[in-house]
């Protein structure tokens, strides 16, 4: 029949339908609400309100990067209008029974189908366009700082919409339309939406560097290709260039799939009322015709007592459950939940070098909130709308309304089913997690912990959302508006904290907590349980309201329902509400008492304000001279169960400057309560306890070399619980405090100042940068103005079952009054900054050359202890031989809870977080622990010699520590491990350049920029070592140590180190040293072509190598400069493994120059791959083209 119509007729029909549908969409208020929502979402996101995409101030609000990122992050929301306009275009007829009317008209099938589709898609695209307009309007908003607005260019907005927003919407619309048309089910479209989300999470989660090409195609939202294109971009590139390099194949693929889906629909869709084309089931067998049983006497007892009510409730519950369990959506979501959990767990690695963690239950618990929250929200949005409006949508409202069941059955049944859905998701995730543990061979499941962590600490939050969802749906007029309203409510709730509304009393959430194997749920238990009870009462009130306002019977307006509700407030309803109200108010008062009365409630903003005030009021004391400790006697009484400590002591301060000191500042962490603080011969002029700033004026000036004594009596107390940012250092098991936090420190504390982009808000000038390299006034300046070492004695008292550890030799240990006391005294003067830890430790001991090796760890984490001890022995051996003798008679590693994830270096002592060192799975790794090496190296680079406080100082600490780590791996492990580390190191540098907020510096001048000192500089030093040999480099390092180790001011600078290197390197390497350390150089080498031919009993390999060198400025703008330096040229045997795992047939340095050159080498075996700089020693933004496979060119 379709063929008898002409093309013009079909076109006209198509346009008619398109016009009608579009007009219908555009005349519905829903359209404008969603368009406005999109506009606002884009606007607020790009101007950094609430969601923070780019905290780097150098990245403009209208930079291409931020435009693209905003489009990507909000891309998922685009699925909503796609569903609402496009899916309803097809399912509307079947739901409203108008299908028969349409299907009997002579409208051509394709015109009808494509007309509906096009109208819905156009509506969705218009909404997406509204979003882009929101991004466009961003820079014009009054709250955006002028400095973050770049020159206006509309082209990036057009490209981001055209390449990201528009194709995404087309893909969504095509997929969802096809699914809805072929299955006649809106629920399956939802499932498809969820599937796309999960695919995106999985793809992005598994994308380590380098990203394989095929993975770039798999991301339906094109997030991965954009991220990959901009991975190594610098700030100037992020501001101006468009990351579209890898977009085209991805877009072509997905648009192609969309087109295919649409074509499939056009082919298979039939305008009839038969079963959905995809689900034509076999006709069911007729039920066996048995004669109905005829009961003798009909005596039916009709019961309406309490028991009967419960049975009524049970029947209703059964019906609601059937709704969920019958649908395919639910099972699909469970499946996706499993998949999402697996992906999240697999993608989680140690933050150090990406090693996997042991699948300890405490680690697994950390995934639940993140992995599940979005699924729960989506499930709730969908199912709450479907369930609450179900009776009305099925035409059952009148029948159910005239049945004599109590009104609360409805609200209760829906809520319980929703909670059941959430519970099944949690259960399935938990079982998946357990399965993953078992699959990895770990069987200590700790089921009790799972149940607590999953259902109480996470589950309860989700149950709260169920109650809220039911309440919101009760207020909504229909299914779709209910979904939108609930989405808006959820987004608003999630944004509260980011917008500065941080108080627990109105946050409607149970904050996520960290579970530590050492400390359990610890101090988080009280606030969590309090909040659970508090919000339970609130949810009870919500449910009472939902019950009272539930739309039953003939659908009444909200006003009528409010009127009716008043009649219902009696008896049990009133009593329940009263109880809930009392509990709510009571607990609210208790929470307020804890957060605002016992403790100080400060929002993040007010905290920043306080710190800004510190600088505004006392910044003038920043560079004023202060005396330094030469002797410290610290007594600490630790009460871990109460989370309280007392600090008493005295210190001798000496004036090491050249002038007399008349007054000096003292800093004290404001968390301490001061009982007494006395400086002999001085009176306190300023005592700002809130800021922890004190100014002492001396009766008579302290002459250079003169000393005085300072005494203190402090207490640090934790009472009740705080609103946010609790004290995680002082805990029941695993206390770790630094001495500088519990005793007064002379000088102004510049680490209290506000950093970065927040400064402008408070009227602060841009942050003072580190003093220039070589500034003579700072050559005697370390941290906090410290300029001398000090003897240190610590006496620490703790509970009888814990061990307290501080740097120093353990002189005495005793028990007094049921408490245990330890006395530590350092063997030689140290920088006056020590660590103090106390926990129920198990101690492992070993010995190297008279040095006592000790590992203090939690009994549950023994796995890596032997490796740590072995690493310590190896490193001590190597460092003592290559650099200088180890200065202490002990070396201690101490475990502390995972509230902070770091390893820090103190004299002979390394506190090491549980989830970094002790839970990393080292079984597949070399038998060397990375962090132990690094921190042990700090005993030389940082302890013995510490850089003066100026540019480049971090090089002397971190770079040398990293370099030392590399060298131990090189000496004692299979080469593949070091190569992996080097690749990881260069990647870290290149990725971080784009986040530079001020200006990138050359190594010599680095201003504590971690990605330079930890990554680039270490790589540079190692590259130099590969070229001139370890013997020469270490001679330089020994010379450096000889000049500066354990000596007083002037302290070393980066220039001193580079001078030592220059002294040992020959004249031909001086330009290279300049390039590596004093300028920002990037290289671009590639093997253009290569060939091998057999010659004699071996092969001759010829490579065409192209090499270029670029110098970069602080924001990443590059200019080409002539290249004349050495690169490793390598030839590898044939293999299907990566070159990193192969032993090279040939590996030598060759001198390369700018442009193309030909290199010829000889090898014995058949070559498979050739490479220039295969192990990433020289900074190269495109390392992929450094390697060329001979067979595949």
């Amino acid at each position: 029949m379709a063929w008898t119509q002409t093309w013009t007729e079909r076109m006209r029909a198509f346009l008619d339908i398109l016009g009608f549908e579009l007009r219908t969409h555009l005349s519905s208020p829903l359209f404008y609400v969603i368009a406005l929502l999109f506009f606002l979402l884009h606007l607020l996101t790009i101007t950094q309100v609430g969601i923070h995409l780019g905290d780097n101030d150098l990245i403009a609000v209208n930079s291409t990067w931020l435009i693209f990122r905003t489009e990507l992050v909000l891309g998922a929301f685009g699925m909503l209008p796609a569903i609402i306009f496009v899916v309803t275009a097809i399912t509307r007829d079947h739901e409203r029974n108008t299908a028969a009317l349409f299907f009997t008209t002579p409208v051509p099938r394709l015109s009808w189908l494509l007309g509906r589709f096009s109208a819905g898609t156009l509506a969705a695209v218009l909404v997406g366009f509204a979003g882009s307009l929101g991004s466009l309007a961003g820079p014009f908003m009054p709250w955006v700082e002028q400095s973050r607005i770049g020159p206006f260019d509309w082209w990036p907005y057009a490209v981001s919409f055209g390449a990201l927003g528009l194709p995404n919407l087309l893909v969504f619309c095509a997929f969802f339309f096809s699914i809805a048309a072929l299955t006649r089910s809106a629920a399956l479209s939802f499932a498809a939406a969820l599937g796309l989300l999960v695919l995106e999470v999985v793809v992005n989660g598994n994308a380590g560097a380098p990203v394989p090409q095929w993975l770039l195609l798999a991301d339906p939202f094109a997030g991965l290709p954009v991220a990959e294109a901009g991975r190594y971009w610098t700030v100037s590139e992020l501001n101006s260039q468009m990351p579209t390099a890898f977009l085209l194949p991805n877009r072509v693929l997905w648009l192609g799939l969309a087109f295919l889906a649409l074509a499939l629909t056009c082919w298979r869709y039939r305008m009839d009322l038969a079963q959905a084309p995809f689900f034509r089931r076999r006709p069911r067998r007729k039920a066996a015709t048995t004669a109905p049983p005829i009961p003798a006497e009909i005596t039916h007892s009709v019961r309406f007592d309490v028991g009967a009510t419960l049975l009524q409730f049970r029947s209703h519950l059964k019906m609601d459950l059937r709704c969920v369990l019958q649908g395919r959506f639910f099972w699909l979501v469970l499946l996706l939940g499993v998949w999402g959990t697996i992906s999240e767990v697999r993608g989680a690695t140690s933050i150090l070098i990406g090693l996997p963690l042991y699948p300890v239950t405490s680690v697994m618990l950390g995934f639940f909130r993140n992995a599940l929250l979005q699924f729960v929200l989506l499930l709730l949005i969908y199912y709450s709308a479907v369930l609450v409006h179900r009776e009305r949508d099925c035409g059952l409202a009148e029948m159910t309304g005239s049945a004599p069941c109590p009104a609360w059955i409805m609200a209760a049944s829906k809520t319980i089913v929703l909670c059941g859905i959430v519970t099944s998701l949690l259960l399935v995730s938990m079982l998946t997690s357990i399965a993953l543990q078992a699959a990895a061979g770990y069987t200590d499941f700790e089921l009790g912990l799972y149940l607590q962590g999953v259902f109480i600490y996470n589950g309860f939050y989700f149950y709260m959302l169920c109650a809220l969802a039911v309440f919101v749906q009760v207020l909504s007029p229909g299914k779709w508006s209910g979904m939108i309203l609930l989405l808006v409510v959820f987004v608003a709730l999630l944004s509260l904290d980011g917008l500065g509304f941080e108080h627990l009393l109105y946050g409607f959430r149970i904050p996520d907590v960290v579970y530590s194997d050492m400390n359990g749920f610890g101090h988080f238990r009280l606030p969590t349980y309090t909040l659970i009870a508090y919000w339970s009462a609130f949810c009870a009130l919500l449910l009472v309201l939902a019950h009272l306002l539930f739309p039953s019977g003939y659908y009444a307006s909200l006003r009528e329902r409010l009127r009716d509700a008043r009649i219902h407030i009696r008896g049990p309803v009133a009593r329940t509400s009263a109880v809930a109200l009392v509990v709510f108010a009571g607990l609210g008062a208790f929470i307020f008492y804890n957060t605002n009365v016992l403790n100080d409630y400060k929002t993040r903003e007010s905290n920043l304000q306080l710190r800004a005030r510190y600088e505004l009021d006392y910044g003038r004391y920043r560079n004023e001279p202060a005396p330094s400790f030469v002797d410290v006697d610290l007594k600490v009484e630790l009460y871990p169960e109460e989370r309280r400590l007392e600090s008493r002591g005295s210190g001798v301060l000496r004036n090491n400057k050249h002038d007399a000191i008349v007054e000096f500042a003292v800093a004290l962490d404001p968390r301490n309560r001061v009982n007494a603080m006395i400086v002999e011969g001085a009176t306190p002029v300023i005592q700002d306890t809130a800021q922890g700033f004190y100014l002492f004026s001396l009766a008579s000036p302290l002459q250079p070399g003169g000393t005085l004594t300072m005494r203190w009596d402090l207490e640090r107390v934790n009472q009740g619980f705080v609103n946010s940012a609790p004290d995680n250092e002082l805990v029941a098991n695993g206390t770790f405090v630094s001495s500088v936090d519990i005793m007064p420190v002379p000088g102004y504390n510049n680490e209290r100042e506000v950093t970065g982009g927040d400064r402008a808000r408070f009227g602060l000038p841009p942050a003072a940068r580190l003093p220039a390299l070589g500034d003579p006034s700072h050559l005697d300046d370390l941290r906090f103005g410290v300029d001398s070492r000090s003897t240190f004695r610590v006496v620490c008292g703790t509970t009888a079952d814990q061990i307290a550890v501080a740097p120093g030799v353990l002189k005495t240990e005793w028990v007094e009054n049921g408490r245990r006391y330890f006395e530590y005294v350092v063997e030689r003067p140290i920088w006056p900054h020590v660590s103090l830890l106390s926990a129920r430790y198990t101690v492992a001991r070993d010995d190297w050359n008279g040095v006592s090796l000790e590992v203090y760890h939690d009994a549950k984490h023994p796995w890596n202890v032997p490796t740590m001890l072995a690493t310590a022995r190896t490193a001590l051996e190597y460092f003592s031989r290559e650099f200088s003798p180890y200065p202490h008679s002990y070396f201690r590693i101490l475990e502390y809870p995972r509230y902070r994830s770091a390893a820090k270096s103190f004299p002979g002592t390394i506190p090491y977080a549980e989830n970094i060192g002790f839970m990393t799975d080292l079984r597949g790794w070399a038998q060397l622990d990375y962090a132990t090496l690094h921190e042990l190296a700090h005993q030389w680079w940082g302890e013995m010699a510490y850089g003066a406080r100026m540019q480049g100082r971090q090089v002397l600490n971190e770079t040398l520590a990293q370099y030392s780590t590399f060298m131990v791996f090189k000496q004692y492990a299979d080469p593949v491990w070091l190569r992996r580390i080097l690749v990881h190191t260069q990647n870290g540098y290149l990725e971080a350049r784009g986040s530079e907020a001020v200006a990138e510096q050359p190594v010599l001048l680095t201003e504590d920029q971690g990605y330079i000192s930890y990554n680039k500089a270490a790589l540079a030093l190692f590259a130099l070592q590969e070229l001139i040999g370890a013997e020469r480099v270490h001679r330089a390092l020994r010379s450096y140590l000889g000049k500066f180790a354990e000596k007083g001011p002037p302290f070393p600078t980066s220039r001193d180190l580079v001078a030592e290197l220059r002294a040992v390197a020959g004249p031909e390497y001086q330009p290279l040293i300049t390039d590596l350390f004093e300028r920002i150089m990037l290289y671009d080498t590639s093997v253009v072509a290569a060939e091998a031919r057999p010659v004699g009993d071996g092969y001759e390999v010829t490579l065409e190598v192209d090499a270029r060198q670029y110098e970069s400025n602080g924001t990443g703008v590059e200019t080409e400069v002539p290249l004349d330096t050495w690169f490793q040229i390598a030839v590898f045997p044939e293999s299907d493994r990566g070159v990193i795992e192969l032993t090279p047939l040939y590996l030598e340095h060759h001198r390369l120059r700018s442009g193309a050159q030909r290199i010829t080498v000889r090898v014995q075996e058949k070559p498979g791959t050739v490479a220039v700089d295969p192990f990433h020693l020289m900074i190269d933004r495109t390392p992929n083209n450094n390697v060329l496979n001979l067979g595949r060119q």
Binding site: P292, P295, H300, G395, S557, E560
Partner: protein, 293 residues
């Protein structure tokens, strides 16, 4: 006995859906006749406790319906004009669910549901999903649902619209059987149903009760005032101008006009009044003459 007094409901916008309705309905079948838009469904819903009136009282056997909704619902059976069922759910499951909601549990529940399935001839289809039922089967399912729990007040709203003659006959038999001892309100615009089934009726229009009484008695009132004649279709218009035309019926292709008049008009013969005539006369009397052609 169901008593309504001064029941009034005004929708926002000023439309008076119910205007001072007074009715007294004893046990037995009671017909409520009226054109579409008369307010029948609103009245049915109001009695069935689904809508609250703005004014007035409703009592049933001592129950103050407006105050104690649950008490009425315990003895109520309601078959709405439009209804549906949960998708992919069998008739038996739906009926058992409603039986539970109406206070029937355990073996009593099973017995009652089985009996009703048999009574409404749905026993063989009991496992089939309700959304695959034909129109007639769906109506039968609806009445089975309404009869659960032995209601003492049964409200059926437009129950026979869409049924074939045989099904309609069956449905009527069912109503008669059930309606002997309980109050059954049959709300419909099909005069035949009321004529055949109901010993009492009321005619409703524009929210008001226009006439109540027994069919026989109402028909007698028209005796001697009803006249009929055959006219060509083209002359109907002229007819209207001269006489009070109640209705024009088609009989074997010819148009028969029925006229109300105290005296015999020229060319017309006396006709025997039916309930249809009563219906149209009442509507005409109150100025509501919709679609008499």
């Amino acid at each position: 006995m169901l008593q309504l007094s001064s029941v009034t409901k005004t929708y926002p916008g000023g439309v008076r859906a119910l205007d001072e309705i007074d009715l007294a309905i004893p046990a037995g079948l009671f017909g409520l006749l009226g054109p579409n838009g008369a307010g029948k469904s609103t009245l049915m819903r109001t009695i069935a406790t689904l809508q609250a009136p703005d004014a007035g009282t409703i009592t049933f056997d001592g129950i103050d319906v407006l105050r104690d909704k649950t008490a009425l619902r315990c003895v109520l059976g309601y078959l709405p004009q439009e209804f549906g069922a949960y998708p992919r759910t069998s008739a038996e499951t739906m009926l058992r669910h409603f039986a539970a909601l109406k206070g029937l549990h355990g073996p009593a529940q099973k017995d009652v549901v089985n009996r009703l399935l048999t009574l409404t001839n749905l026993w063989d289809e009991r496992k089939r999903s309700v959304d695959t039922f034909s129109g007639g089967m769906k109506q039968r399912y609806g009445i089975a649902q309404a009869l659960l729990g032995s209601p003492r007040l049964l409200i059926v709203d437009e129950p026979t619209a869409g049924l074939d003659p045989a099904e309609r006959r069956r449905f009527q038999n069912l109503l008669v059987e059930v309606g002997e001892e309980i109050v059954v309100i049959l709300s419909t615009h099909l005069v035949d149903d009321v004529a055949e089934l109901c010993p009492r009726l009321a005619i409703m229009g524009q929210g008001r009760i226009l006439k109540t009484g027994e069919p026989r008695q109402l028909i007698e009132e028209l005796r001697g005032r009803l006249w009929a004649c055959v006219v060509p279709r083209t002359e109907v218009q002229d007819m209207r101008a001269d006489h009070t035309v109640l209705s024009c019926r088609l009989k074997s292709g010819l148009t028969e006009a029925r006229v109300l008049s105290e005296q015999q008009p020229d060319g017309m013969t006396a006709a025997s009044p039916t309930l249809d005539d009563v219906y149209f006369a009442t509507l005409l009397e109150h100025g509501l003459d919709a679609n008499l052609d």
